[in-house]
């Protein structure tokens, strides 16, 4: 299932639509959570979970499985939507998001939910986990790959660059870090709050292979992931240009949708838009 063809592109488009709908539905139900950064990562997550990664929901602890670490842990809804769709737990469980006793914590908790590989949420730490996992894979000659998704605002954390330095130092070519470059953080535009640009040049200066793509074009995402497999001796950074809130016009490119959940009528409008898009594109 690793061909990039009409069939696989159709599948990814369909999964991305399902993921976006489930993000909206679960956040509408929970009444709190991070909508914008979940929506911006939906296409990336669809490609990772339904095209790229070697994972099996019936064997969540298989030693040779690929690992995904959500370093931008606040985008938990997009991870939960992908995991549910992949079969790690029933889709109905998404409705328990952020509720007392739920395995679907506000930020991912590996001890509460199968399929979650790392407990993240405090920004900057997930990429370090991913570096450690990739190191372990090298020690064991295990052959698995490690993926981590970072926010662009997250790159302001100094620890990220400690991890980036270490990944290149240890030549972790089994590691790919994807930056969800939606350009917004809580207090506004990333470039206004604390300018992290130039992102690609920074990773390149730290001896990473860098690929810049449109993070909403599955073909580009898949091609970048494919290319990163062939890069030897250094980790890959995929800088994915995205739109925060992508898929819902009234959320798109708005910082105020970073940590806000849609109200009932907003959720309905968002779902209508996503369905209209799917219909127009012939995704069913």
């Amino acid at each position: 299932m690793r061909e990039i063809n009409e069939q696989s592109l159709q599948l990814i488009a369909k999964k991305a639509v399902t993921i976006r709908k489930n993000i909206i539905t679960m956040l509408g139900e929970s009444g709190s959570g991070h909508t914008g950064g979940s929506m911006s990562a939906a296409d990336i997550m669809a490609c990772l979970y339904f095209w790229e990664m070697n994972i099996d929901a019936s064997q969540p602890q298989a030693p040779g499985r690929d690992r995904f670490v959500l370093s931008k842990g606040h985008a938990a809804p997009v991870l939960y939507a992908a995991l549910a769709e992949k079969g790690f737990f029933p889709v109905e469980d998404l409705m328990s998001l952020r509720k007392l006793g739920s395995p679907l914590q506000g930020h991912p908790d590996m001890r509460k939910l199968a399929g979650v590989e790392a407990s993240t949420g405090s920004l900057g730490q997930g990429i370090s986990w991913a570096v450690g996992m990739a190191l372990a894979g090298k020690i064991d000659n295990a052959g698995y790959r490690v993926y981590t998704l970072l926010g662009d605002g997250e790159l302001e954390e100094g620890m990220v660059w400690e991890a980036v330095m270490a990944a290149a130092h240890y030549r972790l070519d089994n590691l790919a870090a994807i930056v969800d470059n939606n350009g917004l953080q809580i207090d506004g535009r990333v470039q206004d709050v604390m300018d992290v640009r130039p992102i690609a040049a920074k990773f390149a200066a730290f001896n990473w292979a860098v690929i810049e793509i449109d993070g909403h074009q599955p073909e580009q995402i898949m091609t970048a992931l494919e290319k990163s497999r062939s890069i030897k001796g250094q980790p890959t950074a995929i800088i994915a240009k995205t739109i925060k809130g992508k898929g819902c016009s009234f959320m798109e490119d708005k910082a105020e949708w970073h940590g806000t959940a849609p109200k009932k009528d907003e959720a309905e409008r968002a779902l209508e838009e996503i369905e209209a898009y799917a219909h127009a594109k012939g995704i069913c």
Partner: protein, 315 residues
């Protein structure tokens, strides 16, 4: 009396563990010659990773390695392991309950000449407050080795607090210990000294001198600060009615606080806490510093006298 630094015992024990267990990996942050992980690095270069001067990432990488099945020992100075990387220890290690042992050397005043910026006197308090963490402060070389082997067997995160200078051996090399069980080294009914780290040996000296003036005190090596041996503390509170804690750490939040928390709830008795009195350290030779901050045999004796006076007044 034979002497050995707890960090040296740690370095030796780590190599032994490396021979016994293939999944053991060790991380350091550019201090391997000081933390003594260098021996492991030399013996098992393929299982040793230097994080460079980047303690936050060292802890984060430890989490990833542990999540992938490794048993990780991560070392730096106490100031940086428990201090700078506190939130990584809290959120990446303890919150996820991972099998990573943070083995921090150069704790307390006995760092010496490097001064207050490098003397962690709050690390026990920080580590003790975090759920899932086990906190161990060995008194000498042999008990350090025993603690390390015990921590290997014990799943989950831990903080092992080690020192810089050579300290007298109070146990023989084959000593055994159980995490969470205090060791009663001397028994007396007038008062009990509950100590950890370098203060255990000083407490024994003080107890011998007190015996010469007819005062009999119990001395306990409370090597595990968490989970603390509540049963033993309650027993000592009931049998002596007067407890003295002694530690190379702030009197706020460390062993003294842990003991007082137990007695306050279960058996309220007099508790005196000997430690660093809410102050930063400074440069000086280790023994001069211990003298300056009152972590001495004489000060233990003075505190016992004070306790007995208070105890008498209550009666």
């Amino acid at each position: 009396m034979e002497k050995q630094a707890t960090r040296d015992a740690y370095g030796e024990a780590l190599v032994e563990l490396g021979h016994l267990h293939e999944e053991v990996v060790v991380l350091d942050a550019d201090l391997s010659s000081s933390t003594k992980t260098a021996g492991f690095a030399k013996t098992f270069p393929e299982r040793f990773f230097n994080a460079g001067i980047a303690e936050q990432n060292m802890i984060g990488m430890s989490a990833g390695l542990a999540a992938a099945g490794k048993t990780v020992f991560a070392s730096s100075f106490a100031m940086f392991a428990a201090g700078r990387a506190f939130e990584q220890v809290r959120n990446s290690l303890a919150y996820a309950n991972l099998n990573v042992k943070v083995c921090a050397t150069h704790a307390g005043l006995t760092v010496g000449e490097d001064g207050g910026s490098h003397q962690a006197v709050e690390d026990i308090a920080l580590m003790r407050a975090v759920p899932n963490m086990c906190v161990v402060v060995p008194a000498d070389g042999p008990s350090t080795k025993a603690a390390l082997f015990q921590l290997y067997e014990r799943q989950g995160p831990a903080y092992l607090r080690l020192g810089r200078p050579a300290v007298p051996k109070i146990y023989d090399n084959q000593m055994d210990m159980v995490i969470g069980k205090g060791i009663e080294l001397r028994t007396g009914n007038d008062a009990a000294i509950i100590a950890c780290g370098i203060m255990v040996e000083k407490s024994l000296q003080a107890a011998r001198l007190l015996a010469e003036e007819g005062i009999q005190v119990t001395v306990v090596d409370m090597h595990t600060i968490k989970p603390i041996d509540a049963g033993m503390i309650i027993h000592l509170a009931k049998t002596t009615g007067a407890l003295l804690t002694a530690e190379e750490h702030s009197i706020l939040g460390g062993l003294g606080s842990a003991v007082a928390e137990i007695t306050a709830a279960e058996c309220p008795v007099l508790v005196e806490r000997l430690g660093i009195n809410d102050k930063f350290g400074q440069s000086g030779a280790p023994d001069q510093l211990l003298e300056h901050y009152g972590l001495t045999v004489q000060e233990i004796i003075n505190k016992i006298h004070l306790l007995l006076k208070k105890k008498k007044a209550i009666k």
